[in-house]
């Protein structure tokens, strides 16, 4: 069987066909095909599935450095750079920054975004000194992101834990919550920030960010909950929701289903699956001369 063949027609099962998925122009803003990798094999294999499911573009959140230290150089960086340049019509990259080291983070952004192929920055769920995104350390990082027109993705969760048990009480040190994103967004009202993972708990996440219009919402990396996207559209508006796949650890089936479950027109689905992401990416793509139709 070829990678794009299907044993049964998905349409017979109330699912979009591959042609329909392609027509939605899906941008996967949460791609982990480079995560923990030491060669390009995992990425190549992931791209087979992206192709099978009609994904137009993947945006890696793991460019440069290592998983434990995003600012240390690694031999894999050369491979990543080559892929980003060679496959620039399908693959984009964001660099992971380290809020414990704002200067080092800005140097990495200069290297990879201003003078390199990347289009944005990513805050991970942990860092060296336990600094969340609301900390003042982040101001020079966000200022530079604004200057470069770079996209800003922030991992957020509100894990239940602590004493007394509460949302966020189980977070790792330095793991931001949607409230951290809102605090940062208030200091930079002219910078769009992506609140990743919907804060883990989308019911609380939407409540937290709904008043802050420069905060976007992304659902990847959590279980698929029927009705979640409907709820987010009602509370935030359809133009503030972007989509990510979170593969390979999450199934594309999981992440696609969250949007397909919602009561949306094809146009609205396309807006969430890719239109809003392209709007966020437009400034940096234009600056770099990357091709992109809206």
């Amino acid at each position: 069987m070829n990678a794009t063949d299907f044993a049964f027609d998905p349409a017979l099962y109330g699912l979009p066909t591959r042609a329909q998925l392609r027509a939605l122009r899906i941008w996967d803003l949460h791609y982990h095909g480079f995560n923990n990798a030491t060669d390009e094999g995992p990425h190549q294999r992931m791209m087979v599935f992206a192709e099978r499911l009609g994904i137009e573009r993947v945006v890696s959140l793991d460019i440069g450095g290592s998983r434990t230290d995003p600012l240390e150089s690694s031999p894999f960086e050369a491979v990543q750079r080559r892929i980003l340049e060679k496959q620039k019509d399908k693959v984009s990259g964001m660099v992971r920054i380290e809020p414990s080291d704002p200067d080092g983070s800005c140097r990495k952004m200069e290297e990879w975004i201003k003078n390199g192929p990347c289009v944005g920055i990513k805050y991970a769920g942990f860092n060296r000194d336990g600094i969340t995104c609301s900390h003042r350390n982040n101001d020079p990082i966000i200022r530079l992101a604004r200057e470069l027109g770079a996209m800003v993705y922030i991992h957020t969760w509100m894990k239940i834990g602590g004493q007394p048990r509460r949302p966020g009480g189980g977070n790792l040190a330095g793991e931001s919550t949607p409230a951290d994103v809102v605090e940062l967004a208030k200091r930079f009202p002219d910078v769009n920030l992506i609140c990743g993972h919907s804060g883990g708990d989308w019911e609380l996440g939407t409540r937290t960010v709904r008043q802050q219009k420069n905060v976007f919402f992304e659902f990847a990396g959590s279980d698929p909950h029927s009705g979640a996207v409907d709820h987010a559209v009602r509370e935030l508006g359809i133009d503030r929701i972007v989509w990510g796949g979170h593969g390979p650890s999450r199934s594309y089936a999981t992440e696609l289903s969250k949007v397909l479950d919602a009561d949306l027109t094809d146009t609205q689905q396309a807006q969430i699956f890719g239109g809003n992401a392209r709007r966020l990416a437009q400034p940096i793509f234009a600056r770099k001369g990357y091709r992109m139709s809206p």
């Binding site: 063949d5 099978r52 239940i160 048990r165 279980d223």
Partner: protein
């Protein structure tokens, strides 16, 4: 090992699918044409619930809406538990309401009652499920009911259900514990105690639902060694997971999982029906691999159980 660790382990290079490479390099220039609508098999959904999830109003909580939704996705039969079973003490009432609701959709909704061995006289609930409501199986919630699968009372329940020829479904993780309501504190998911309990009743016909552990890990091998245990794949995660399990490796022995062990289950209406359904299409599986997962294995599993005393 917690859920997050399991997910992170699936990020390993090995986890990213040599199946993809197999599909990519396949040279089948003349793939057979996709079957017509008449040839495409309908689905049996082995894992749905009726009524209200205790912590949120679900989009398809109304039975009529859920049935219509399932039918739109070519589901022709759905094995239905009740969300009321999680926290309600009057289990007899829960099962009676479930049976009544399913009677409104005969042949489509198959009621799967519950028994809580932590409550007094649970044996009567088991009897009623079988003899009064003529249910083909029961669904257990050991974590919500506060009894481990290897608890002596749970093992006695497994034995009695088996003597009656009933299917036993065991729901493991209905909701990610990271997003539980703060007042809810369930015991952790422990694969070892589950395997230990099931091993004590080898004749039991058991299906595990909502399995969030990684089937690539050796820790799952004790469950895979129990040939009488099957799984729904509603909570299986990672890109191309079904292809990898069926064609590459699972558990500690690193051999593929037998296809007859896997059944379609959506965990609707908590999950979108599309999530499990898309897993069937995400992986480049053949017709002969898909048909047992879609319905054949479920049909066989239920045909072997007793629906009448």
């Amino acid at each position: 090992m917690n859920r997050r660790c399991f997910l992170q382990q699936t990020l390993s290079t090995a986890a990213v699918l040599t199946a993809a490479a197999r599909a990519q390099t396949s040279n089948s220039p003349a793939a057979p044409p996709a079957p017509s609508a008449a040839e495409a098999p309908a689905l049996i959904d082995t894992n749905i619930h009726l009524f209200d999830w205790p912590f949120r109003r679900l989009k398809y909580s109304r039975t009529a809406d859920l049935v219509a939704k399932l039918r739109r996705h070519r589901v022709r039969e759905a094995w239905s538990g009740s969300f009321e079973a999680l926290l309600t003490k009057d289990v007899s009432g829960v099962n009676a309401r479930l049976a009544e609701e399913c009677r409104g959709h005969p042949g489509f909704l198959i009621p799967i009652g519950t028994v809580n061995p932590a409550w007094p006289d649970w044996e009567e609930d088991l009897r009623r499920c079988h003899e009064v409501h003529r249910m083909p199986g029961i669904r257990l919630y050991p974590r919500y009911h506060g009894l481990a699968v290897n608890d002596p009372e749970m093992i006695r329940l497994l034995r009695l259900a088996t003597e009656r020829g009933l299917l036993v479904q065991i729901a493991l993780e209905l909701e990610d514990p990271r997003v539980h309501h703060p007042v809810l504190q369930l015991p952790p998911l422990d694969v070892g105690t589950i395997a230990q309990g099931l091993k004590a009743v080898p004749a039991a016909r058991v299906q595990l639902l909502d399995c969030t552990f990684s089937f690539q890990l050796p820790i799952v091998q004790p469950l895979l060694d129990l040939a009488n245990v099957t799984f729904d794949f509603s909570s299986f995660e990672s890109v191309g997971i079904l292809d990898r399990l069926l064609n590459e490796k699972a558990g500690g022995r690193g051999t593929p999982i037998a296809p007859e062990r896997l059944l379609f289950g959506s965990h609707a209406p908590y999950f979108p029906v599309e999530a499990a359904l898309l897993r069937l299409f995400e992986s480049p599986l053949t017709r002969s691999q898909l048909e047992p997962l879609m319905a054949g294995n479920a049909r066989r599993l239920l045909s072997a159980v007793s629906t009448a005393p």
